[in-house]
Symmetry: C2
Subunit: 227 residues, 2 copies
DNA sequence: CGCTAAACGGAGAGGACGCTCCATTTGAGC
DNA sequence: GCTCAAATGGAGCGTCCTCTCCGTTTAGCG
């Protein structure tokens, strides 16, 4: 009956840790969050360690792979995504729900440089993300269905278009986070305008949807190894 | 009166080269084109040299910096961009001209992975690109003006939106070039649909345009150095 | 307070890449 | 063919990054 006796230790089992270790773990996570947001995923591990004020060994002991660190760092954001979708599902107006999801998620993406990569990438050990992503995907599919049923979303909108939006939004790079956000907002406004159903030009067919969903995006960000 | 006596040796002066050197230069350029397209800008120089079947020294002698190589490799594409704009300017239908430019350039971008980065980046020694980019930009501004005058393009479309399109399109990453093209086409169709003037919802204002143009995009692709 | 396992940090091995130096090869004019 | 400047290729050095090993420090417990 203890609060912490749950058998599934999500997101990670930190119960057996000494208090100093726990403290350092927090500092690492905070430092990594900062570093990823400003420099992007792929900052040297040593830089994260330095920002956290710990040695590299401590970093590696706690997070053996870069991916495990990323997974943990973005756990919050992933959960935030899920709640965004959940909130939208509770909205009585289907179109507003649909619109809000895209707007909010894209804003998150624009604000945090590393988030795009983390969100779009399926890491081998990011099973936690996997589960949440699937849940978000399901919820979004439902939102899509409702918005179409309400006649507000064009009928040929596909699930893959969400990926398209996220990739497009992820392409935005700017000097400052504010500039990125401004640009993102405008892009999203343009796209949402097109997503709306419009009986006037229903006869102009869209090019086919790309053949991928979120899970087809392995290899992001682009590798650059030799051939 | 000689054919080759032009004082401005654009894009590069290769006149004094021995035939074998010239031959190797071609092989390097071809190899680099391939490598950039598939692996992206930033492939190891050694990989380019290996593909070209030359030593690294040969590569460096011909192209002292990575940027000079990129400049040369993408000279063709840059010229192609300019012609696309020129063709569009010759089109009697302003909207079709506008639309075609965006479609064609985005298609080029989607087909060649390195092109985005090369196009968006202002390299110190890429003065050649600079000139062509300015020309393309001017032409596009004129196209925009005409399309607006014809009432086909929404009045609040800004030059910066072109950058937005290119960034968004550049965000597309896919396994194969075909998938990327498919995705790009769909994205572009969505965006163009929004760019069209529509008196029905002229009262819905767009978020402000991002405060940048093509030349504000230094730092693409994202650096990842430590802080 | 003292013991011990847990935690720590930094040095350094290992590897990728950028770029240069230099001994050797080769094209081109005589 | 002979000569020599031009061209070549790969060895090698410096740098940056990942990840591990190991001697030292410290929290937690009796």
């Amino acid at each position: 009956m203890s609060i912490r006796s749950s058998r599934i230790p999500r997101p990670a089992d930190t119960s057996g840790l000494r208090v100093d270790a726990l403290h350092n773990r927090d500092r690492i996570l905070r430092a990594a969050r900062e570093a990823f947001a400003t420099l992007g995923i792929g900052v040297p591990m040593a830089a994260v360690a330095r920002r956290a004020g710990v040695g590299v060994a401590t970093l590696y002991r706690r997070f053996p792979t870069r991916e495990s660190l990323i997974t943990e760092v973005f756990a919050d954001q992933m959960e935030a995504c899920v709640s965004v979708v959940d909130d939208a599902l509770a909205d009585p107006d289907p179109w507003r729900g649909f619109r809000t999801v895209i707007e909010k998620v894209c804003a998150m993406q624009a604000a945090d440089r590393g988030f795009t990569a983390a969100f779009l990438t399926a890491f081998p050990d990011a099973v936690d993300h996997e589960r949440e992503r699937v849940r978000a995907e399901r919820g979004f599919a439902e939102l899509t269905r409702r918005a179409k049923a309400a006649g507000r979303l064009r009928a040929d909108f596909e699930q893959a278009d969400l990926t398209l939006v996220l990739m497009a939004n992820g392409g935005i790079v700017a000097e400052s986070a504010e500039d990125a956000l401004t640009a993102s907002r405008r892009l999203v406004a343009y796209l949402l305008r097109s997503f709306q159903a419009d009986p006037l030009d229903g006869d102009v067919p869209l090019p086919p949807a790309p053949p991928f969903g979120l899970r087809h995006m392995r290899g992001f960000p682009p590798a650059r190894s030799a051939g």
